[in-house]
Amino acid sequence: MLHVDLEFKRGAIELLVLKAVSWGPMHGYAIAKWIQQTTDDALRVEEGSLYPALHRLEDKGFVDPEWGISDSNRRAKFYSITPLGRKALRAEIRSWTLFAAAIAKVIVAPQPSG
């Protein structure tokens, strides 16, 4: 697990969650599994931290919850992305990409001359 500051971590998790539900309504466990599978568990997210993130996203109006029945035939809370959430996701992706590119540039930068 990377040691990053809390805000950074939160932002990252929210981005992951938004990306996950952008494919269609998902319950929290499915989101966790999706993240695990997609990243080959490289991030090893504490699954518990998903839920405050989901509820914060709900507060912001980025996701819309609805109770439904899971594949295993149990009651589960499904989250779907809202248009607002999609917009936020696009913005987040852009800034993460820029950030990552910047970091990448730094990493491959040659030794400064002079």
Partner: protein, 905 residues
């Protein structure tokens, strides 16, 4: 992921009443943990390993749960608030738009409500200030009035002796403080004329008892105790303004009261009132005294010279406990002083909260008026409900459409209630403004003898009442239309294209009829209450007062009592008697005066005056019949019975020869004879009473005089000759064929000429005195009649509304009938019938309600039973007339339906 499977319906219903965010969070997390554990188990872990692994993977379960719960709860309450406000704003905008679309309707609604609520607020203002609000004194619940009763003689409130007062303070053990209260007149010198003012002589601890302090200067206190009067007095704010021009240097000034000098040490605040009875009006000056030296008997005796006392109960002692201990204390005192408290007198002490002694006698009147005015508001509500119902029928299509589009019943009810509440709140505001503007006029209408009159003002409780009434009426008038609107059959309404369908109109007619019936029933109850009061008033007016008040002027004279007996010009009976004779001579010599008479203050009939009944004995009767012997005593001059034209029944009245040197004589009234000696002739028998048990011979019997008002049965009364038993306070009576005002002036002038030190006061015609004694009854009759008439008017409007609607609906039918040959009379009968049926049903219900409940107002009735048949017959007849008038116009319209038009339409 595919589409979500919907949650089963029954689960949704479970969540219908109240979403539980906490439960949701729990379930959401539990689902996650269960799924993860199951997966680990599938991958081969045993149950406990799987669980541990799940937890490791999840992190701090409780921490997460707490955080998520907080987020969910916050969001939930935020959502509720937003929803609520959104809906309110929406409803309000809709309501304003609807009302503005029909301004006449909106104004009618608001004004009617403003009147209904305003009338309630006005009465409530009075009730609240007089009955409900505690006296403006510290800890008023612990203030009591102490009465001495002689139950053996049937005499209540006989006054108290000075040693008794001391015993109450030191030995009874239930009071923190006890103070005598001795209302008296006193002559204030210093103006251009001697003025009579109201004095309250009290024990020095009076202000400590009431925990009251002065606005300027100070009050006297327990530590200044003296056997006689203290040299210092406290004056009222009113006297300070009236007599001393509200000057700043009042404290320390010396005034002369009854010829003695006193130093003013303080002025009370304007709102301070003595919480008890006075002779007439508010106390002007308070004087402390020990009541055991001049001018009071010294050393004190067990004679009942003090009219009464007030006391402050010890903290934590209830009224009942105090009464029980006083009973025991009284019994002990009787054993100790058997001579002062003879067994057969059955002396006892009684305490009553000061507040109820002040306002107890107006409570029934005010409570009945409050009940009546709330009935009126109910009728107003019913009226407005049917008005709104009629309005809502034209909006049926709206509601049906909204319901068809998914609006819930609750949502539509809420919107209609918002509309009615808006109207009610505007009405309530208008009522408050109207009350504020009219409070002065209202106070002028109140009978001037209403206790705590000066304390009446609109307080925050009145505002709260206005708000409460607005909400209640708003809900009441909105409910019927809401119920009706949401019951609409959307399908039919929409198909009918906005025309009111037959099915729903039947439903609506039923609701409106129900409303009209209840309206009439309520009005019947009010009308009967008013009818009973009017009938009582008529009976009261028909009562024989026992005297002829026309062309009689009456007034009172105060004879000052200086503290030093030597300074008292009228100390000895001879001097008093001489004064009486001189006054009589001068007054009879006035031009136009036919009879001039003097008496004690209690001898002015119908003037609410403090006079305690006195025990007496009839020595000629066997001693076994000596129980229950008490009567009011008074002394009158020989011409008293002539001046007031009180008929002599038997024997003789007093003559000028019944003077101080002649044998003592007495005259009694017929009530006395009825109560104490119906079988035997009392004339010539002996009566013994008074302080020294003097024996009098009964020489005559006179007719009863309604001395406490026309509506109060006459009590037994003994008259003595003023020449033999003079007093320090006199009342004057002049029967004159001259002009009344000049007679009043002459009366004051003559008294001034005889002795300029004697103040004359309360000069009025006997008619004025009698009329004032009926002020309260007149007030309640006129208010109740106004309420009842308003109720009848509203009921008539209700009947009219329904009838007009019915006739309009059945226009086609009436046209058809006419075309088929029905006469005007037939049509009239058809058109009248429904209105009459409603009126009859309402009247019947009203009578059924009124019959048992009028008993509650029996204390306000006089000479009329609470089930007075005349009232119970007259009211239905009156309502029948009102109902037919209300039906007349619609019925006539029914006969004018043009058959051709009706059939085409």
């Amino acid at each position: 992921m595919g589409a979500i499977k919907r949650e089963p319906m029954f689960r949704r219903y479970l969540r219908f009443w109240r979403a539980d965010p906490r439960l949701d969070v729990h379930e959401e997390l539990a689902f996650h943990l269960a799924m993860r554990t199951a997966e680990y188990q599938e991958s081969g872990m045993d149950a406990s390993d799987a669980e541990r692994a799940t937890r490791d993977r999840f992190g701090d379960v409780n921490g997460v749960r707490t955080e998520v719960e907080r987020l969910a709860l916050d969001r939930h309450s935020r959502q509720l608030r937003v929803q609520w406000w959104d809906a309110l704003v929406l409803d309000l905008r809709l309501a304003v738009r609807t009302l503005r679309a029909k301004p006449a309707y909106a104004i009618a609604l608001t004004l009617t409500l403003a009147l209904g609520i305003g009338a309630n607020l006005a009465i409530f203002t009075v009730v609240n200030s007089v009955l409900l609000r505690p006296l403006p004194l510290a800890d008023p619940d612990r203030l009591v009035r102490v009465y001495d009763d002689l139950r053996g003689a049937g005499a209540n409130d006989v006054g108290m002796s000075v040693p008794e007062l001391e015993d109450l303070t030191t030995r009874a053990g239930v009071f923190d403080e006890v103070s005598a209260t001795f209302p008296a007149s006193t002559a204030l010198e210093g103006g251009d004329r001697v003025e009579r003012i109201e004095l309250l002589a009290t024990s020095p601890n009076y202000f400590e008892l009431l925990q009251a302090s002065a606005a300027q200067g100070r009050v006297y206190s327990r530590s200044e105790w003296k056997p006689g009067f203290l040299g210092s007095v406290v004056i009222s704010d009113a006297l300070w303004r009236r007599q001393f021009g509200a000057t700043d240097d009042i404290v320390g000034k010396t005034i002369r009261l009854d010829e003695d000098p006193y130093t003013i040490i303080g002025v009370m605040p304007p709102d301070f009132r003595h919480p008890g009875t006075t002779l007439s009006g508010d106390v002007d000056v308070w004087g402390g005294a020990g009541f055991s030296a001049d001018p009071f008997p010294s050393p004190p005796t067990r004679a009942r010279i003090l009219p009464g006392a007030i006391a402050r109960l010890k903290r934590g002692v209830t009224l009942e406990q105090a009464q029980a201990r006083l009973n025991a204390f009284g019994a002990a005192l009787q054993r100790e002083f058997p001579n002062d408290y003879p067994d057969q007198m059955r002396w006892s002490l009684r305490i009553e909260p000061v507040q109820s002694t002040l306002t107890g006698n107006v409570r029934p009147t005010l409570v009945i008026l409050l009940a009546a005015v709330s009935f009126l508001l109910l009728i107003v509500c019913v009226n407005l409900a049917s008005l709104m119902l009629a309005r809502s029928s034209t909006r049926m299509r709206d509601y049906a459409l909204r319901q068809a589009l998914g609006a819930s019943r609750g949502r539509i009810v809420r919107q209609l209630l918002t509309e009615s509440l808006l109207v009610a709140v505007i009405g309530g505001l208008a009522a408050i403004i109207a009350l504020k503007l009219s409070l002065g006029t209202l106070l002028a209408l109140l009978p001037s003898d209403l206790p705590r009159l000066s304390e009446i003002h609109a307080s925050w409780q009145v505002l709260a009442a206005a708000l409460g009434l607005s909400i209640v009426t708003g809900v009441l008038i909105g409910l019927a239309p809401a119920y009706y609107a949401t019951g609409a059959d959307a399908n039919r309404e929409l198909k009918e294209g906005g025309r009111t369908g037959a099915g729903s109109s039947k439903r609506q007619n039923r609701s409106r009829s129900l409303l009209v019936v209840s309206q009439i029933a309520l009005s019947v109850v009010l009308l009967i209450a008013a009818g009973l009061l009017i009938r009582s008033f008529a009976v009261v007016l028909r009562q024989n007062p026992g005297l002829d008040p026309t062309s009689v002027v009456t007034g009172q004279i105060w004879i000052p009592v200086p503290n030093n007996p030597a300074a008292n010009k009228y100390l000895v009976p001879e001097k008093q008697s001489a004064l009486v004779q001189q006054l009589l001579e001068r007054l009879s010599a006035l031009p136009g005066v036919e009879d001039a008479a003097l008496g004690t203050p209690g001898d002015v009939p119908m003037l609410a005056s403090v006079s305690n009944p006195r025990p007496f004995t009839l020595p000629d009767e066997s001693t076994t019949q000596q129980d229950d012997h008490s009567a009011k005593f008074g002394s009158v001059s020989p011409s008293y019975f002539d001046a007031l034209k009180i008929p002599l029944v038997k024997g003789r009245v007093f003559t000028a020869y019944d003077n101080i040197s002649a044998p003592k004589v007495a005259v009694v009234n017929e009530a006395f004879v009825r109560k104490f000696s119906s079988r035997r002739d009392l004339v010539g028998r002996r009566l013994s009473g008074g302080r020294n048990n003097v024996v009098f011979e009964i020489v005559g019997i006179v007719a009863d005089v309604r001395e406490n008002g026309l509506d109060v049965e006459t009590a037994p009364r003994v008259y003595f000759s003023l020449l033999q038993r003079p007093t320090v306070a006199l009342s004057v009576f002049l029967r004159s064929h001259g002009e009344l005002q000049s007679t009043k002036d002459a009366l004051e002038r003559v008294v001034h000429e005889v002795d300029p030190d004697l103040p004359t006061f309360g000069v009025r015609t006997m008619i004025e005195v009698m009329s004032a004694s009926m002020a309260r009854r007149r007030f309640s009759v006129s208010l109740m009649s106004a309420f009842a008439l308003a109720a009848a008017l509203l009921a008539a409007l209700g009947i009219y509304g329904v009838m007009a609607f019915l006739v309009g609906q059945r226009g086609q039918e009436f046209g058809l009938r006419q075309a088929l040959g029905a006469t005007h009379t037939d049509i009239l009968r058809l058109a009248f019938r429904p209105g009459f049926v409603l009126a009859a049903q309402g009247t019947l219900i009203g009578l059924i309600v009124a019959f048992p409940s009028t008993r509650l107002m029996s204390s306000l009735l006089f000479g009329v039973s609470a089930r007075d048949p005349i009232t119970f017959i007259a009211v239905p007849v009156f309502l029948a007339v009102v109902a037919s008038v209300a039906c007349l116009a619609p019925a006539r319209r029914a006969t004018r339906v043009d058959p051709i038009v009706a059939l085409r339409g």
